[in-house]
Symmetry: C2
């Protein structure tokens, strides 16, 4: 079996889900989507780019907040239909002030503390 990575298999919307994981702590920070352009810009700049489905535009993570993600490595899954960014996160990944967007259990229990005050970061 070849170990070459498959070409990313973008979906009908030309997007792929991308997981951002902290390269040091291993914490899963967020899930967003990438276009081919977002993936290219991430590789060119070393900073995580995504595609915002709501704003319908390329999105450099941290553009407003300064909380950029320095990308150590990009992994692709076995069938090429999802991506894993291994990142060094400045500030916090979540716009609500948490390191990770996954700061709550499904039953509503908060499992983390805020790392920044969103009122200080977003206008």
């Amino acid at each position: 079996m070849s170990t070459e990575a498959p070409a990313p298999a973008f979906d009908k919307q030309d997007l792929l889900p991308a997981i951002a994981q902290d390269a040091d702590s291993g914490d899963v920070l967020m899930l967003a989507y990438v276009s081919q352009e977002a993936l290219d810009r991430t590789q060119e700049t070393g900073l995580a780019h995504y595609y915002s489905r709501s704003r319908e535009e390329l999105w450099k993570k941290g553009d407003t907040s300064g909380h950029v993600q320095h990308v150590d490595d990009i992994r692709v899954d076995c069938d090429g239909d999802s991506i894993l960014y291994l990142v060094n996160q400045e500030g916090g990944a979540c716009h609500t002030g948490f390191e990770s967007c996954f700061y709550r259990s499904l039953d509503g229990e908060r499992v983390a503390e805020r790392v920044f005050d969103p009122d200080d970061v977003y206008e």
Copy 2:
């Protein structure tokens, strides 16, 4: 700001992306999709269930291979449109024999070793 978890915001296909992460090592194992039924069955049984978009059916991970995922906790992200399963993985998560489906960099470099032989597991 409330810390109650949002109700899962299923998409137009009534699915949500779900990340499986090893509860001990922190390794991201796979990304798949869940329906409400898959989420309910996961909570009822403590074993990870997903919805297969290709087979269009509920799917208990490990049903063929025996490589089930014991779910320690389920996290939901800030806007409720993705899910994180924290799991104890039996065997390996990837049908190609690796612990994680993300065993390759985007440039094709293999970053892990096989943990089982798929020929021994799948007919």
